[in-house]
């Protein structure tokens, strides 16, 4: 492993930025979906706003929102 790879500049920074942005996007999505569902948005509305299918957003978020006791609209 070269010192350039082990360092913190160039490609290492660019790749780390991808990791950090994915993590930030996941965190923002969790928060935004929870806030929307808490304030009465429906699954289809949240799905359309995110540009994904209703099934996809339900599968991704329903379990944790139910576990957290967030009231969910069915439609």
């Amino acid at each position: 492993m070269s010192s350039a790879k082990a360092g913190v500049a160039g490609s290492a920074d660019a790749l780390a930025a991808v990791v950090a942005l994915r993590r930030l996007a996941d965190q923002l999505e969790d928060t935004a979906v929870e806030q929307a569902m808490s304030s009465g948005w429906s699954w289809p509305e949240v799905a359309e706003a995110l540009g994904v299918s209703r099934q996809a957003v339900h599968k991704k978020h329903a379990k944790r929102l139910i576990a957290a006791g967030i009231p969910l609209r069915r439609r």
Binding site: V8, A16, A68
Partner: protein, 163 residues
């Protein structure tokens, strides 16, 4: 072996909580390292503390790395200012529990994969510190830690004490 298995099982439980705190769907090497530095991990925390790697120092290093990585994308984000969801982060798809991320899998392979001795906690630490790329080596470098020196200290401790 049974003692190490018990150590690893408890460590992964703690690391899972660190991943949850981090709102990460998988357990990554930094979560394992934070769990090893937890005062409750008596097998490892004192040694890590002697290297300057207590939980506070590790969290500061990881925050530095996150800020630096986001800065490379042109963003300046204060993680403490971000709104947080109340619900726990979602686990990886298809898994009921939080799964091991690739950085942990690699650390386990490096530290324990070719081991002929009885595995010890320090072997796992070696596996984590041997990563040349990724969040942990970046965080350590940005916080001013010399990873080669750390690796040397861990190896010497393994040879000398069997810790």
């Amino acid at each position: 072996m049974i003692a190490f298995d018990a150590f690893l099982r408890t460590l992964l439980e703690h690391a899972g909580k660190e991943a949850e705190r981090d709102r990460c769907s998988t357990i990554e090497a930094q979560h394992l390292l934070l769990a090893m530095a937890s005062p409750s991990a008596t097998e490892t925390s004192e040694f890590l503390g002697s290297l300057g790697l207590d939980q506070e120092a590790l969290r500061a290093a990881l925050a530095l790395e996150l800020g630096h990585a986001l800065g490379a994308a042109g963003l300046s984000v204060d993680a403490a200012e971000l709104p947080l969801a109340q619900s726990p982060p979602r686990p990886a798809r298809g898994l009921s529990a939080r799964a091991l991320g690739t950085s942990v899998q690699h650390a386990l392979e490096r530290g324990l994969g070719t081991l002929r001795d009885t595995p010890r906690p320090a072997h796992l630490l070696l596996g984590i510190l041997q990563a040349d790329v990724g969040t942990v080596p970046r965080a350590l470098a940005l916080a001013g830690f010399d990873r080669r020196e750390l690796l040397g200290r861990v190896r010497r401790t393994l040879e000398a004490t069997g810790t």
